[in-house]
């Protein structure tokens, strides 16, 4: 009787269904969390989302790499702040910004003996920012230069050996500027004979003047896609802040595109891999970092479909053609003339960005 009553009462039926639904949901969540444990969650830039890079690692380790792309350290750190501890295992970050992550208590020190530090180009280890408090929190995986990208059939390649050409009337209206304030301000610093590491607020007026001269010559100031498109389609002949990251990927379609490291130097960009302190899968995270830094991983990352760049490992398994496009053999000379991104403190950084905003608004 009671059974009949219970089964016949609509409220009881609803309760039973709810219980069943809750149980099913709990099972699904449990299964999800188990699946999550076998996954690797990576906060990355677009070059790491290339299947050609991830697939070999996933197959070799029977793991799924879940990636989330972001642009800019600020946006990346904001994603981390809005996540639960343990949501992320590894992160790609500007080498100069590794200390920002360490200050927030996000990263785990890396085991130097398990990573190929001895094989890296010495200049890109960037111990000044990847080592904090005597512990290494990031390893440089890829680098390159913010410099002059150009179409060698449209400009005199000899002119591209000097930053002064960027502000000369000869190329007025033929120039695009890459829309990232730090490297281009770095190039402006080189143009006025300053070292990027020595920049202070007292240099801002001279930097602003140089930026305004560049803007007066420029047809546009564009983010990655827009500036790359402008150079590739002939809208402009020179890209300030361009480099191998623009021209190498387009070399097959447009061999006329090239980059130079002018006599004043270029601004070195460098991206690092870091492991999260709260990662639930540190062994796999380390395996991932080891794979990316391996000769094969380095070759795949360097020639990623999103953008090309120099592998930080000197033993990267690049083909001769790829090395030629990246000008691999010329790296020692390039690196000798390269300077790091300006690494301002928060207040100075804000002033630099405001100066950049003024430059964008200038007619």
């Amino acid at each position: 009787m009671s059974i009949k009553s219970a089964s016949g009462n609509p409220l009881s039926v609803l309760k039973r269904h709810l219980h069943a639904a809750c149980a099913a949901t709990a099972l699904l969540l449990a299964a999800g969390s188990l699946a999550e444990a076998a996954d690797l969650n990576a906060l990355i830039w677009c070059d790491h989302s290339d299947p050609a890079l991830l697939q070999p690692f996933e197959e070799a380790n029977n793991v799924k790499v879940n990636v989330k792309e972001f642009e800019g350290t600020g946006a990346g750190l904001a994603i981390v702040e809005q996540s639960q501890p343990g949501d992320w295992d590894v992160m790609v970050i500007d080498s100069i910004d590794v200390p920002r992550g360490v200050e927030k208590g996000l990263f785990e020190p890396l085991p130097e003996d398990k990573l190929p530090f001895a094989d890296l180009f010495p200049q890109v280890k960037m111990d000044g920012s990847t080592v904090v408090g005597g512990k290494r929190y990031g390893i440089t995986e890829k680098f390159g230069y913010n410099t002059i990208g150009f179409n060698k059939t449209k400009v005199d390649p000899a002119d591209m050996q000097s930053l002064a050409s960027l502000t000369s009337d000869k190329y007025k209206g033929k120039v695009a500027i890459y829309d990232y304030y730090l490297p281009v301000i770095g190039m402006a610093a080189l143009a006025i004979g300053k070292k990027t590491a020595d920049l202070t607020e007292a240099d801002l007026p001279a930097l602003k003047e140089e930026l305004l001269k560049m803007k007066a010559n420029a047809k546009l100031v564009g983010e990655v896609t827009a500036s790359q498109t402008a150079l590739a389609t002939g809208e402009v002949d020179i890209l300030v802040g361009g480099g191998e990251w623009v021209t190498a990927g387009l070399a097959k379609e447009n061999p006329a595109l090239d980059f130079s490291i002018p006599k004043e130097g270029a601004v070195l960009w460098s991206q690092s891999l870091a492991m999260f302190k709260d990662s639930k899968n540190k062994d796999m995270a380390l395996k991932f970092i080891q794979y990316i830094l391996s000769p094969e991983g380095q070759a795949r990352l360097a020639t990623s479909s999103c953008y090309w760049g120099m592998p930080s490992n000197t033993k990267a398994a690049l083909t001769e053609d790829q090395k030629k496009i990246l000008r691999f053999d010329e790296q020692p000379g390039f690196l000798a003339r390269a300077q790091s991104y300006p690494a301002p403190n928060a207040e100075f950084d804000k002033k630099m960005q405001d100066m950049w905003t003024e430059m964008l608004q200038a007619k």
Binding site: E71, G72, A75, A78, L220, A226, T357
Partner: protein, 288 residues
């Protein structure tokens, strides 16, 4: 009896509860996806980027930094131009559609008018870039026909941004004005003609005032969507001038300055609210 009495009391309670039950999902949605995020943004805008703590400096920066202020001026100018041009183009288009095209053709025309909404902002903007670029369609036609010797600077200008926006919003406005025109009873025109008004006078004194609500609804939608759009000015404007959404994005990219980005967003919302209040008279759904 007692049962009937209970029912008698229960029914009015149920009756009172029903409207609330019906409106609860909408209220919950608004609370969850508008009110709470707005409050969070408001709090964020009043905190310091470094170190936290209450501050008004995010707002004061906007009013004291000329390049920030300029971004708002640019945004308002572009939005005003886009809105006016879109209205001027959309009205005749909607009128032809409503008055001159047969019913069957109207369906096809409306379908064509809706097509731009099917493609993303990004694709549409890059398509316009290909049309307006130095080696684009327009410059090739003009140089090929000998009308000009040097390509015109069309891409990466305010003109390009306005063109991209107008392409999208003229269709939006056409739809709202068309709907308004279709609602107009033919007897208005007949009455005007009976009273001796010619076509121009009928349009100016009868048709236009009666379709003003449709124009204002479309113009307001254009204003709101245009002033908050980031993609079109970013791709077509070439960053040769900053608009407010671009300025907001700049604060987030590298520096992650969400408090300043929030303050700028609140200011942008205040401008939209002012625009709403300015045309609230015409933004009623029903027409008397």
């Amino acid at each position: 009896m007692s049962s009937a009495g209970n029912n008698g009391r229960a029914l009015p309670r149920a009756g009172r509860a029903l409207p609330w039950a019906l409106v609860t999902p909408a209220l919950g949605w608004t609370l969850l996806f508008f009110v709470l995020p707005f409050i969070a943004m408001g709090f964020s805008s009043l905190t310091a980027h470094e170190g936290g703590g209450f501050t008004l400096s995010n707002y004061s920066q906007f009013f004291t930094n000329p390049s920030y202020w300029q971004a708002m001026v640019n945004s308002l100018q572009v939005t005003a131009i886009v809105t006016v041009v879109s209205v001027l183009l959309a009205y005749p288009f909607a009128w032809i559609l409503a008055e001159q095209v047969p019913e069957r053709g109207q369906r096809l025309a409306l379908m064509l008018a809706v097509l731009p909404f099917w493609t993303s902002y990004v694709v549409r903007s890059y398509s316009w870039l290909l049309v307006l670029a130095q080696n684009g369609v327009i410059n090739r036609v003009l140089t090929g026909s000998g009308l000009i010797t040097e390509p015109l600077q069309l891409a990466n200008t305010r003109l390009a941004t306005v063109t991209g926006f107008v392409h999208f919003f003229v269709m939006l406005l056409t739809l709202t004005i068309f709907a308004n025109l279709k609602q107009l009873s033919p007897s208005y025109r007949k009455a005007a003609a009976d009273l001796g008004a010619g076509p121009v006078r009928t349009f100016l004194h009868v048709i236009l005032p009666l379709t003003l609500p449709g124009i204002m609804v479309g113009a307001f939608l254009t204003f709101v969507l245009c002033i908050g759009d980031y993609i079109t000015p970013q791709i077509l404007g070439g960053n040769n001038e900053l608009l407010m959404p671009q300025l907001v994005m700049m604060q987030i990219g590298r520096r992650g300055d969400f408090p300043l980005a929030s303050a700028l967003s609140i200011i942008l919302m205040a401008v939209v609210t002012i625009a709403y209040l300015a045309c609230a008279r015409w933004l009623k759904i029903e027409r008397t």
